[in-house]
């Protein structure tokens, strides 16, 4: 099975799962979810077995579709997060059924696979129209997913907010694409990049288009000043969907931004200064507006929403360190590396929230008080996730932050690096506050022990191990990004 056909397969599987859940409601959702996970893992296996050199693409997609080390990494990323989100859905099945309208959550299992197809396609897109259609496949599916638990007012509110603002952002995005096409006469990344070297290209027109495009994409990745929707939507959406939104949607936005910045900045200097400055300004505001409000949050989901905003700021800073950095990872690779570090720790945090929810605890910080006595394992997992999100050394979160900061220092972006340090310092407070809450609480409170199934325990411990082991031994992650095939990892040095 080639990579391309595995994407088609996932879309078909997603539709099939939705149909099966409609016509055969007796089949338990859990079974469907595990079928979905199996499909995703099969695709992942075929991705790991393939290499970028594989060129067996059908002729009709070749103009719109390409494979390089980045697209392979982001495809793998999409597959991993989809499998984990499906697992989170099985973990919080009880909650989801309670809050869904008819007690059926079949679509919730099928739609992530379609989102996954969209994210994989985005990673390979060569032109803005393909980007747009694939991105809409992702976004429209998310409209459904966010509002899925319709008995909850918060979820409904989140759905409406996401729908209206998302549609507006889509409009801005299309408008920007149109202006860029008007200025450069091309829709492919290569064509845009080539036309920048043409002296007759109108700079003003092009910049207007770029600003619109960055605004539209800024919405998707939760970059300030387009981040207002994030806290409400993250809080209202079901926890597995929030995790998907926070990791998957962000990654899709950043692969597009990476390709865009590559084509706009590296090949010529026509608009590079303006684009870099836009990114730097947005990065600085995003870090500050993400981390300072996080200090005052009382809901862990909202806190993670602000944390997601502040992480987007670090990613934007990485993106602004254009060209190659002095170490092996180019700016786009640092972005991918950071996202790679962001995945396990975020999923881990949302896993704990899902399980706590299942056992009658809410998402507020107070609801997690004394979790360490109910379940020492859950408390430890959350501690690892929070330590990593805070960027404590020996966890993977530190490495991501360190790479970004070093790239920023290397480029001499002192102002933004200062904002990053401030944001990280604030992070010590709000992430540690969660840790303290887990372990405090007096003995008088009765807290029933939380039992986890063996499988979920194993997966969660693997995630925590990934956070720590990759934090100490990041080489495989770097190799995965720079495109070395998996087999080479073990043989070299």
């Amino acid at each position: 099975m080639s990579i391309f056909s595995s994407e088609v397969f996932l879309a078909v599987l997603g539709i099939a799962l939705v149909l099966v859940s409609v016509f055969f409601p007796k089949i338990p959702t859990r079974t469907l979810a595990w079928i979905g996970i199996a499909g995703v893992l099969a695709s992942l296996a075929c991705l790991l077995g393939a290499s970028a050199a594989e060129t067996s693409l059908p002729a009709f997609v070749a103009p719109y579709y390409s494979l390089d080390s980045h697209s392979l990494f982001y495809k793998g990323f999409a597959l991993v997060i989809t499998a984990l989100v499906l697992w989170l859905i099985t973990e919080s099945e009880k909650t989801l059924v309670n809050y869904s309208l008819d007690g059926q959550i079949g679509e919730l299992v099928g739609l992530p696979l379609i989102v996954c197809t969209g994210m994989m396609w985005i990673a390979s897109a060569r032109d803005l129209i393909t980007v747009f259609t694939a991105l809409e496949l992702v976004t429209v599916s998310f409209y459904v997913l966010v509002a899925y638990t319709r008995k909850s007012a918060l979820s409904l509110e989140a759905g409406v907010k996401y729908l209206i603002l998302g549609a507006a952002a889509t409009g801005v995005l299309v408008y920007g694409i149109a202006w860029i096409y008007g200025a450069t006469g091309s829709l492919t990344f290569e064509g845009i990049s080539a036309s920048l070297r043409d002296p007759s290209t109108g700079k003003g027109t092009l910049l207007f288009g770029i600003v619109l495009l960055l605004a539209g994409l800024g919405f998707k990745v939760a970059a300030a000043p387009f981040h207002m929707w994030v806290p409400d939507v993250y809080q209202g959406a079901p926890a597995p969907v929030t995790a998907f939104l926070s990791v998957g949607s962000k990654a899709s936005g950043f692969i597009i931004l990476t390709r865009l910045v590559d084509s706009l900045v590296i090949s010529s200097t026509l608009v590079s200064v303006e684009v870099i400055n836009l990114l730097l300004i947005s990065a600085a505001i995003t870090m500050i507006l993400g981390s300072l409000p996080a200090i005052f949050q009382t809901s862990v989901k909202r806190l993670l929403a602000y944390s997601s905003i502040s992480h987007a700021g670090f990613l934007l800073l990485a993106l602004a360190c254009r060209g190659s950095t002095r170490f092996d990872l180019a700016a786009g690779d640092v972005v991918a590396f950071y996202l790679g570090t962001y995945l396990p720790m975020t999923v881990l945090a949302f896993f704990v929230l899902c399980v706590a929810r299942r056992h009658g605890r809410g998402d507020s910080l107070e609801d997690l008080r004394g979790l360490a006595r109910s379940s020492p394992l859950l408390a430890l997992l959350m501690t690892v996730a929070m330590a990593s999100l805070a960027g404590l050394p020996l966890t993977v979160g530190f490495l991501g932050k360190m790479m970004v900061l070093m790239a920023g220092v290397d480029r001499g972006y002192w102002g933004v690096v200062g904002c990053a340090v401030l944001s990280a310092a604030a992070g010590f407070y709000y992430y540690f506050r969660v840790i303290l809450t887990l372990y405090s609480g007096d003995n008088s409170q009765t807290s029933e022990p939380i039992q986890l199934s063996l499988l979920s325990r194993v997966i969660a411990i693997l995630l925590a191990a990934a956070v720590i082991i990759t934090g100490i031994y990041p080489r495989p992650l770097q190799r995965a990004i720079s495109g070395a095939p998996a087999a080479a990892l073990t043989t070299q040095r």
Binding site: L392, L394, Y439, P474, Q478, R493
Partner: protein
């Protein structure tokens, strides 16, 4: 596999085992004992004379990232060996003296702090030197906030203050280390490896060296409670559970000084010698010795007094650093070891008294010596060591530092330099220490006994950690060459004494 890797990971493995349900006390005692045996074995067979500039013994290196080149590299030389020995001794004493009912969290926290300190002292890669130090942050935070002394609101406030101070201090440190690594790496490969950085010949311009050194001084200084970044330390040590206070004040705080001696001083010699950096350091360390000395003088509780005195004594070690002569730097390492052992002993005794007597107010106590002759003698050891009485380890370190600042190479015939004036002022700190320590000793142990407060000598088992620390102070004090022999050989050729 290098034995040093075992030393680093054994405490972590033991902590994990305790978390999984292994009996807390035997497991952690076993890990601490094995570590002490391994380190003592290494020290016994250590021959530093074969090591050249920036070379380490028992090295082992595993690449974890290609570029920036980071490897999990361990190695040992005289200085790190002495600090590893201190870590092993204090860890054993700290876990031995834990007597709490539900003792598992105390053992886990102590072991993690110990592993962090070991890792920081034994790594030879800047990344891991930095990273291991941070391992202690969460255990320290949780232990102060949840199991500290005093009322809950207060100990939480102290925990936050400590964590934010240490967190921001380490971010400043990280910025300094990143600048150092980026400036020192010529060409495409950015290396964090200390050995290759030490052996590098290309020079970085003086102005760059100065501000990187200053950034590192502030970053490391915050972790060592250098005045005016010291205000986290005294409340943290007074509030923390005894074992955490022993390990943090005794061992972990030495990390900042170790970092300055290991990284900043040899790599940035021009920065260390720059006049404005030197003067800033002298003013700050005088703040430690004199201002904090006077603050210590006015404490009315034993734990507050010990915590403040620990901040104060850091000033002397910084004085050794400021002098930068071989004698003064050796004295600084010596004093790091001695202070670690003496403050750990003080906090152990203080914790014992808190448990038995229930209060540490000087005004409410007196005549404790009647029923506790052994504790009286041991407290005498700790107090006299802290003052700097000859025959105990601290004296050796202090006299070397003071003499080192009057090195012939630093003396000019006409007038005394600012360094020597600082030494003259710093000597008054010894008088201040004598005043508060002797006053505390008299008030607590002699005079009329107050009703209701009794102190008894501990049983045989609980004497071991206290006697161990006192014996270390005595042996090293009477025979400093035991330790100096280790440093001498390593530093004879090192860049450190780069005058």
């Amino acid at each position: 596999m290098s034995p040093l890797e075992i030393v680093i990971f054994l405490p972590i493995a033991a902590a994990l085992a305790i978390w999984l349900g292994a009996p807390a006390r035997p497991t952690s005692l076993f890990a601490a004992l094995v570590n002490l045996v391994i380190i003592a074995g290494i020290a016994f067979r250590f021959d530093g004379s074969s090591l050249g500039v920036g070379e380490f013994a028992h090295v082992s290196s595993r690449i974890v990232l290609d570029n920036p080149a980071i490897s999990f590299a361990v190695g040992i030389d005289g200085m790190s060996l002495i600090l590893a020995l201190l870590t092993a001794i204090v860890t054993l004493a700290a876990v031995w003296q834990i007597v709490a009912d539900k003792s598992a969290p105390f053992h886990i926290a102590s072991l993690l702090i110990s592993a962090g300190a070991m890792g920081a002292f034994l790594s030879t890669d800047l990344f891991f030197i930095y990273a291991f130090h941070e391992l202690a942050l969460i255990p320290t935070f949780l232990m102060i906030a949840l199991h500290g002394h005093g009322d809950p609101a207060n100990r939480r406030a102290v925990a936050w203050k400590t964590t934010i101070y240490l967190g921001v201090g380490s971010l400043v440190l990280l910025a300094g280390l990143a600048a150092l690594v980026l400036n020192f790496s010529e060409g495409p490969v950015i290396s964090f490896d200390l050995t290759s950085l030490l052996q590098q010949t290309s020079s970085v311009p003086a102005a760059t060296q100065e501000w990187i050194y200053f950034t590192l001084l502030i970053g490391f200084g915050t972790l060592v409670s250098l005045f005016p970044f010291h205000s986290w330390a005294a409340p943290a040590y007074a509030t923390a559970p005894t074992s955490v206070a022993m390990l943090h004040a005794g061992v972990l705080k030495k990390f900042g000084l170790y970092g300055l001696l290991r990284i900043a001083q040899p790599l940035l010699p021009l920065g260390a010698q720059a006049e404005w950096v030197q003067n800033a350091l002298l003013i700050m360390l005088l703040g430690n010795i004199l201002v904090m000395g006077l603050v210590t003088l006015h404490q009315s509780r034993l734990d507050d007094m010990l915590a403040n005195s620990s901040v104060m004594h850091m000033g002397y070690i910084f004085l050794g650093l400021a002098a930068g002569t071989e004698l003064a730097l050796k004295g600084a390492v010596m004093l790091m070891f001695a202070h670690g052992a003496s403050i750990a002993l003080s906090f152990a005794l203080c914790g014992r008294m808190r448990n038995q007597v229930g209060t540490l107010e000087f005004s409410k106590l007196g005549g404790l010596a009647t029923n506790a002759p052994l504790l009286t003698v041991l407290f005498g050891f700790a107090a006299f060591a802290s003052i700097g009485l000859p025959g105990l380890a601290n004296f050796a370190g202090e006299i070397m530092i003071f003499a080192g600042t009057f090195d012939p190479k630093l003396l000019s015939p006409e007038k005394l330099s600012s360094l020597q004036w600082t030494t003259i002022l710093a000597l008054w700190g010894v008088v201040i220490s004598a005043v508060y320590m002797l006053r505390a000793y008299r008030k607590l142990f002699f005079g009329t006994a107050n009703s209701g407060h009794y102190l008894r000598d501990p049983g045989f088992s609980q004497r071991v950690p206290l006697v161990l620390l006192a014996a270390v102070l005595l042996v090293v004090g009477c025979c400093p060459s035991v330790l100096l022999g280790l440093i001498q050989s390593a530093w004879a050729a090192a860049k450190v004494a780069s005058l």
